[in-house]
Amino acid sequence: MITVEGLTKKYGSTVAVDDLSFTVEPGVVTGFLGPNGSGKSTTMRCMIGLDRMQAGRALFDGKSYSSLRAPLHEVGTLLDAGNAHSGRTARNHLRWMAASNGLPVKRVDEVLEIVGLQQVAKKRVGQFSLGMKQRLGIASVLLGDPRVVILDEPANGLDPEGIRWIREMLKHLALQGRAVLVSSHLLSEMALIADSLVVIGKGRLIEQCTVDQFISRHAKKWVVVRSPQLGNLVDLARAKGLQVATNENTAEFHGVESAVVGELAAGNGIVLHELSTQTGSLEDAFLEATALSVEYHGLSESAT
């Protein structure tokens, strides 16, 4: 279990993370979601003491990271799979990490087998593909069999097979009762992996909730209608003060239940060919929730 309380990180006068508090429960995958530059990586670095936080604390089963004598036994972290000397072999890379926490070489061979790298254990990391480096990173996370796992954008840059592997691995780790925190800037990815969400924007907590709650709160719903007498229905609805957008042969009713539209049509003898409720995509929900907090507004903003 991870408890983050009031974590604040400033770089000069820029506030990267602002009074951030959340918890990560064991047994589930918690998605740490936010746009690029929203402070996810900074938060993770502060949590394990790599960066100094100005205020707040992060506790792992009640203990701060710096108080852990052999932290790999408690917390497994993968911030960037590229953090490995390209000239070292995979096995030697894991060996020095294992030795630092008093773990035997036998454990190195075990985790290499778990992630399926035993064949290339004696190859240099520099020859590894991104997917293989990611597997090596997961192997280093598993070294000490930790109860808490923290991963920063583990799916970034992976091919579909690699993404699926990571996804299965994370679910597996959570099923074993570990607390798993995994960051991403893609909600669609999170929706497939995570059970629970911590959503941040501009370094502030936007929401901590389940994935379903997040979507139902933020995703837009609207009613789509197809009718040969569409014009009449739209006029009637507008007269009642409803918000309607019309396309060529459909109309979208916003902020209203489908029953209201159906009854309006029936009451006026209008024939309907379609009456359905549409829900916005996950990405829409995410953009909606973080719209006010996006750090860098790209040119593509108007196109989305």
Binding site: R95, W96, G102
Partner: protein, 249 residues
């Protein structure tokens, strides 16, 4: 602490460029002194010749060992492993100390190898030549010991400079320019201003002097010179350790 030292030792020996640097730090000084005793005129060889060449090549050895000290820190930053190191061992003083112990022992071992191989092979070369039997030189043993200790001290200095700059080129440049250029210029300027010979106050020069067979007359003596240099290295190390502790990784 033992676990951290073991981890640092594995890290150091599993990168090829470190191993190459270590080998070069032994071979180049050996080549210098052994070639010298091979081709030196027979009439000029006396009991101080071989030890003199060995400790003379010691300055090259310790500079290369200093480079190794630089590499063992800066490669952690250039390759990103410093984050894994500090995540695995959150106590930064412990990481710094473990690294310093490893590079110091390795530095001493490498200068020790130069002394050992230089003496064994060098004596064999002299024996094979037409030179009358030589007495043992009373200054050789203390000079060799000073050279071995210098290997440790300069390794720790290189590591400190590496930890301060976090960048291999600037760290190596600093390490090499300090004795060759900075102390030369500063020492030169100061000796213009003062009558006293200020060369002995130049830390690196003082350390290098401690390895000489015949010590400069106005220095601090062998162990005084070495101790003075070591005190400077300790001072720089404390600043570097503080920097590691305070700065974000």
């Amino acid at each position: 602490m033992i676990a951290t030292i073991r981890s640092e030792w594995i890290k150091l020996r599993t990168v090829r460029s470190n191993v190459t640097t270590a080998i070069v730090a032994v071979l180049i000084p050996l080549a210098i002194s052994l070639l010298s005793v091979t081709f030196m005129g027979e009439n000029n060889i006396d009991s101080g010749t071989l030890p003199g060449f060995i400790v003379g090549s010691g300055s090259v050895a310790v500079l290369l060992i200093g480079v190794l000290g630089v590499l063992c820190v800066t490669q952690e930053y250039s390759q990103g492993t410093i984050r894994l190191t500090l995540a695995a061992t959150p106590s930064r003083p412990r990481v710094y100390l473990a690294k310093a112990v490893v590079v110091a022992l390795l530095g001493a071992a490498l200068t020790g190898l130069v002394v050992l191989i230089g003496n064994v092979v060098g004596s064999a070369i002299i024996d094979a030549r037409d030179v009358p039997a030589l007495d043992s030189n009373p200054d050789a043993a203390p000079a060799f010991l000073a050279m071995i200790l210098m290997g440790a001290v300069v390794a720790v200095l290189g590591m400190a400079i590496g930890a301060l700059t976090r960048n291999p080129p600037s760290a190596i440049t600093t390490l090499v320019l300090w004795p060759l250029l900075v102390e030369g210029i500063v020492g030169g300027l100061l000796s213009l201003a003062f009558d006293d010979d200020v060369a002995r106050w130049m830390p690196f020069q003082s350390g290098l002097n401690s390895m000489f067979l015949e010590l400069p007359e106005d220095g601090f003596g062998r162990w005084g010179s070495l101790g003075y240099f070591a005190a400077w290295v300790l001072f720089v190390s404390l600043i570097a350790e503080r920097s590691l502790k305070r700065r974000d990784a």
